[in-house]
């Protein structure tokens, strides 16, 4: 062999090299991905969810390149006064807010924070929930007791109250990273429960015993045999958690618990509420961010359920 073992290049080749087997595996994985995407798109619920999310995610990404005014720009009239509370028109399709800012632009830019918070918080919740669920289900005994009681406590606390108290403790106004962390740390319980339940059934299967008979350690069994079997569930669940996380952020922002200067759909709603938009009939100000929220959450839910159906071998049709 051209690579003496122990040399850096040998290590690199072993780690990242495209050997024949690796290339084959890569092709197989890509095929599988393509297959899953295909099934999602052709699944009725999944297809709709996919389209919705595709639309909003694309919108969030290309916001800087869209022909819209900057979200913080106040439009002024000839006297230099802010053009407040304009009704929808061709120039401002969703009208303007209390500072004469274009609401369409604010809704589009707001999607960035809402989606970001949703994704990051649910990743935290997913990782935490999976870890807790795996350990709890696999080791059982007092580990399980302790973790599940903590879980019960979190489940029984009203989630909104918890968030508000947390916000109050942290100074009344939360920065973006704190929001993400807080939502992540309070929404892992459902995932943990689901994962634990699945681990309990998977660990009784004969292939786990077989792995043990073939000399695998508990850590290996957990990582290589049990985790892959619960992963589809985790994935589908995390997608569902995104919806919850986005809603949590919107709720907090709507209640005015978010740092001034952050722009999300919840913030837009908060400003509408503070300006009395509902009483004054400035409908677009409330309906547009509200509708965006509802549609995105619907999109995540649809996609989550569809993925669950597609990835879960038990529900898969063959």
């Amino acid at each position: 062999m051209a690579f003496p073992s122990g040399s850096v290049s040998y290590w690199l080749r072993r780690r990242f090299g495209i050997s024949e087997v690796r290339r084959e595996k890569f092709v197989l994985t890509m095929n599988r991905l393509k297959e899953i995407t295909n099934s999602v798109v052709h699944h009725r619920m999944g297809g709709i969810g996919f389209a919705i999310l595709g639309f909003f995610v694309t919108m969030a990404f290309i916001a800087p390149f869209l022909p819209i005014p900057p979200p913080e720009h106040s439009f002024l009239d000839s006297q230099g006064n802010q053009l407040q509370y304009l009704q929808p028109s061709w120039e401002h399709p969703f009208g303007t807010d209390q500072m004469g800012r274009d609401i369409l632009s604010r809704v589009i830019w707001g999607s960035r924070v809402s989606l970001l918070v949703g994704f990051l918080a649910s990743v935290i919740a997913g990782v935490l929930g999976t870890a807790v669920g795996l350990v709890s289900g696999f080791s059982g005994g007092w580990h399980d007791e302790v973790l599940m009681r903590i879980n019960d406590i979190l489940l029984s606390l009203p989630w909104l109250a918890l968030l508000i108290v947390l916000a109050q403790i942290l100074g009344g106004h939360l920065s973006l990273d704190v929001i993400i962390l807080t939502i992540g740390l309070t929404s892992w319980n459902f995932t943990a429960r689901v994962v634990r339940a699945q681990v309990l059934t998977v660990k009784e299967r004969v292939f786990v015993e077989r792995a043990k008979a073939s000399g695998a350690s508990n850590a290996t069994i957990l990582r290589k045999h049990i985790f892959p079997n619960v992963f589809p569930l985790v994935f589908a669940n995390t997608i569902l958690t995104v919806a919850v996380a986005i809603l949590s952020e919107a709720t907090l922002a709507f209640l005015g618990k978010v740092d001034v200067g952050t722009l999300s759909w919840g913030v837009v709603l908060h400003e509408a509420e503070a300006s009395g938009a509902a009483l004054n009939g400035w409908w677009a100000w409330i309906v547009m961010p509200g509708l965006s929220l509802v549609i995105v959450i619907l999109g995540f839910s649809l996609l989550g359920y569809a993925l669950d159906e597609i990835l879960n071998p038990k529900l898969r049709e063959r």
């Binding site: 087997v21 292939f207 077989r210 008979a213």
Partner: protein, 301 residues
């Protein structure tokens, strides 16, 4: 409860032993004890399991882990459940190799191809998932997995249960062929006596957690010494005989929570006499190498 009690046998290199008996008589428990894979509520309280100078009943878990699969491998009952549904079979076969022979999964692929050829599966199917195989093929995959690390002993736990008769014959033929070719020792567990008769040198008939009869397969089947074995063999339908219900053994296997006094079989035994109710029969050697646990076989004094 003692699920298995006072069971003892020897397995030489290249030999095959059949463990037979009705459900719940302790066949699988005996086999799982050998590599200490009993479920959490079971344990070995006493006894020895000697394997090439080591006592598997007492060595450390870490040491045992090296022996599992490398020396003693299992073909499990019910191949669908014994294969991980979300992993390609190439990965599953390579797992044990990677674990014991210090190879990466990629490096083990050559051996995987070799093994699949050995058990008669087209190696081009190695990257498929278990659900893409039929029952017989899955059992072949299981056998390939068991052979992965070139073990010395294979424990086959009901390897052909739930397969149809044609496939049963194929799998058994494969097992015997491999056993001869690779000079393996094999322990075959089955409740189907014909399966054992076809494949094993020696057979141990178990009843109520104990050995009822032990001896060379041919002798045991042609000239059974224990009334339980005799009853078992009688209850096989004769394919040339009249079409009526074959005789069966009345009654039920003993409750091992409260095993009966004396011989464990006496409640169902047609030949039981006074001594059977009070004294447990030891294993009497009726012929060299042929043992039966029955007072009727006591050497006359």
């Amino acid at each position: 409860m003692r699920a298995v009690d006072d069971v003892s046998w020897k397995l030489e290199k290249g030999e095959s032993l059949g463990l037979a008996g009705e459900s719940g008589c302790g066949k699988t428990t005996t086999a799982l004890s050998i590599i200490r894979l009993l479920p959490k509520n079971g344990r070995i309280i006493d006894g020895h399991i000697r394997y090439s100078g080591k006592d598997l009943a007492t060595i450390k878990e870490s040491e045992l882990r090296r022996i599992r699969w490398k020396h003693i491998a299992i073909v499990f009952q019910g191949a669908m459940n014994a294969l991980n549904p979300v992993k390609r079979i190439s990965w599953q076969i390579a797992e044990a190799i990677a674990l014991h022979d210090n190879m990466s999964f990629d490096e083990a692929q050559g051996r995987v191809v070799e093994l699949l050829e050995l058990v008669g599966i087209n190696p081009s199917r190695k990257d498929e998932y278990p659900h893409e195989f039929s029952g017989g093929m899955r059992q072949r995959v299981m056998i390939a997995m068991a052979l992965a690390c070139r073990p010395k002993i294979i424990i086959a736990d009901e390897p052909v249960t739930a397969l149809d008769v044609m496939i049963q014959a194929q799998i058994l033929e494969l097992l015997t062929k491999l056993q001869k070719e690779l000079d393996l020792s094999m322990i075959l567990i089955s409740h189907d006596l014909s399966v054992i008769a076809q494949t094993c040198n020696n057979v141990a008939i178990m009843y109520g957690g104990k050995i009822a009869e032990y001896g060379p397969a041919e002798e045991v089947f042609l000239d059974p010494q224990h009334p339980y074995t005799q009853g078992l063999l009688r209850s096989f339908p004769d394919i040339y005989g009249p079409r009526d219900l074959p005789p069966w053994i009345p009654g039920q296997p003993p409750n091992l929570l409260a095993p009966p006094d004396g011989c464990r079989f006496h409640e169902r035994c047609p030949l039981a006499f006074a001594e059977c109710l009070v004294r447990e029969p030891p294993l009497y050697e009726t012929r060299p190498g042929h043992l039966a646990s029955c007072h009727l076989r006591a050497p006359s004094t």
